[in-house]
């Protein structure tokens, strides 16, 4: 009998195994929904798939009677704009500060303890402050994402810079490189894969902060909508919204992984298959 750790599924088998849990969840949902409907025709907790499809059609394809907006798309656009701004600013500052802290001992001595302390502030605890300072508009939501994600990115990148072999940095200097040249030609290309990896890991927290901020004060957005519909127990819309948010996050994650493998193939040669 071969050891369990040595038994790997084939290509088709792998796909089948991956789909199995999804199919199981779908089956349990459909069965549970049907059962509840039998017991109570007005059940709102587990709406059948047909009702969810109708709800999706209503929010995605028909203009809202009051505003004339296609609700799903305006919500998605509003949320994604906040998310992109927040993650973009966080990524840029994470890269710049992380690189500086990891490469320059002076920057590290000055900023690393500060970042260490800042990263311990629970971002949700400063949300009231953000609302007070920046108002209830877009800025406070973007800033919450930035505050929530940036310290992690800075620390992660500073760590990956300091993990570069000292030999490489010395070698670059013997080739006549200045600090700046080492940063852009030796360090930057080698930490880019890690940056993308860190941003991938940040997508989850970024959505968390986005939806929290939208739930508390917003006029549109995916988080705003599901918290609004909660009042009406409108599970037929909330569930598709959650699925949609999950799909968006999954697609970003997948796209970033693809990008990293394409652009920085050298970084993936040693990994275990």
């Amino acid at each position: 009998m071969r050891r369990l750790m040595n038994i790997a599924p084939g290509r088709g088998g792998g796909l089948l195994l991956a789909l199995l849990p999804f199919a199981l969840i779908a089956f349990l949902y459909v069965a549970g929904s049907a059962e509840r409907r039998v017991a109570n025709p007005d059940d709102k907790l587990l709406p059948p798939v047909a009702e969810m499809a109708a709800a999706v059609k209503r929010v995605a394809l028909e203009p809202d009677r009051r505003t004339g907006d296609y609700v799903l798309w305006t919500d998605t656009a509003a949320s994604l704009q906040r998310l992109a701004l927040g993650l973009g600013i966080a990524t840029a500052s994470g890269l710049i500060f992380g690189l500086a802290i990891g490469l320059l001992p002076l920057a590290g001595a000055t900023l690393a303890p500060l970042v260490g302390v800042l990263s311990m502030i629970p971002p949700m605890a400063v949300l009231p402050i953000l609302f007070i300072v920046f108002g209830l508009g877009e800025v406070s939501k973007v800033v919450l994402i930035v505050i929530g994600v940036t310290p992690f990115l800075i620390r992660d990148l500073a760590l990956s810079v300091s993990n570069l072999p000292a030999e490489q940095l010395v070698k670059a200097q013997t080739l006549g490189a200045s600090s700046w040249q080492v940063a852009i030609r030796v360090v930057l290309p080698q930490i880019m894969p890690r940056l993308i990896e860190a941003v991938r890991l940040s997508i989850g927290p970024a959505f968390l902060f986005l939806i929290s901020a939208e739930a508390i004060a917003a006029e549109s957005g995916l988080g705003y909508r599901i918290f609004l519909l909660r009042r009406y127990l409108a599970m037929d819309t909330i569930l598709p919204y959650v699925a949609w948010i999950t799909l968006l996050a999954f697609v970003f994650d997948w796209a970033l992984a693809r990008l990293s493998r394409r652009a920085f193939a050298f970084a993936y040669v040693t990994e275990r298959r």
Partner: protein, 262 residues
């Protein structure tokens, strides 16, 4: 072009641990110095001082009579045992990098005609170390020996006056090692630089060096092994027209055998 290197009463201490002491050494331009000694005897420390990566606790290191600049620079090339090449650049990119650093302060990239000229120059170096058909491969696609050849090509691209080798062939198989010896001997004569090589392989040291320097601890305190540093125990001239040994030929202290048993 080559440089002379001089150590004047150099000592290196890490906290209470003394690594090297009473180090006086003058390396003449164009010589090939092989540094041998047991692990922890300060061979690499000595090399890192020439590199400018480390500073002596006491004493002075002089390059051509001038105090050593306290950081690595293009006048001193280096090949380490590992991590000497950049994994994110191709063979050509690795060699080209030195030219790009020199030509463009801000972008560190070359374009157009200047790039073409630098590529021609780099290709000549790549051919010289026998990697011509691998110029577009990444380091992870090369064998250990080929990576070290690339590291050497990269180091000599800047025409350094001093080339420092830190156990450069330690991880290679014997056949590859013999090829590398031929290559480094040729390049040393061709470029006329001063070479300082740290090695664990005594045969290698005798085969390549014009001078062999052995570092070891001469005094030992069994209660506090860190209190005495290594000194030069052998200094042999290996050029053909000189008598071997020349100076400092002393038997190893008896403590040596105890250390080996422990």
């Amino acid at each position: 072009m080559s440089s002379s290197i001089a150590f004047r009463d150099v000592a290196v201490e890490y906290g209470s641990q003394i690594v090297l002491e009473r180090l006086n050494l003058t390396i003449t331009p164009g010589s090939f110095v092989a540094l041998v000694g047991p692990s922890g005897a300060g061979k690499s420390t000595l090399l890192r001082m020439i590199l400018g990566q480390e500073q002596p606790t006491r004493g002075q290191v002089l390059l051509d009579g001038q105090p050593m600049v306290a950081e690595p620079g293009p006048d001193r090339g280096v090949v380490f045992q590992r991590y000497s090449v950049f994994p994110h650049l191709t063979v050509l990119g690795n060699v080209l990098l030195g030219f790009e650093f020199a030509a463009s302060r801000f972008t560190a990239r070359l374009f157009g005609g200047a790039r073409k000229a630098a590529i021609v120059e780099s290709e000549k170096l790549i051919a010289e170390v026998g990697l011509a058909e691998h110029r577009d491969k990444y380091p992870h696609q090369l064998s250990g020996g080929m990576q070290q050849r690339l590291a050497i090509a990269q180091a000599i691209a800047k025409k350094p006056k001093v080339l420092l080798l830190d156990e450069p062939f330690g991880a290679l198989d014997p056949g590859t090692r013999a090829q590398m010896h031929e290559l480094i001997r040729f390049l040393w004569k061709d470029c006329g630089m001063t070479v300082v090589m740290v090695t664990h392989d005594i045969k290698e040291a005798f085969a390549l060096g014009t001078r062999l320097i052995a570092l070891d601890k001469q005094r030992r305190d069994p209660q506090a092994p860190e209190r005495f540093g290594a000194v030069i125990t052998y200094d042999l001239d290996l050029t053909r027209d000189s008598a071997v040994p020349v100076m400092g030929f002393k038997p190893l202290p008896p403590a040596q055998s105890q250390g080996a048993q422990a």
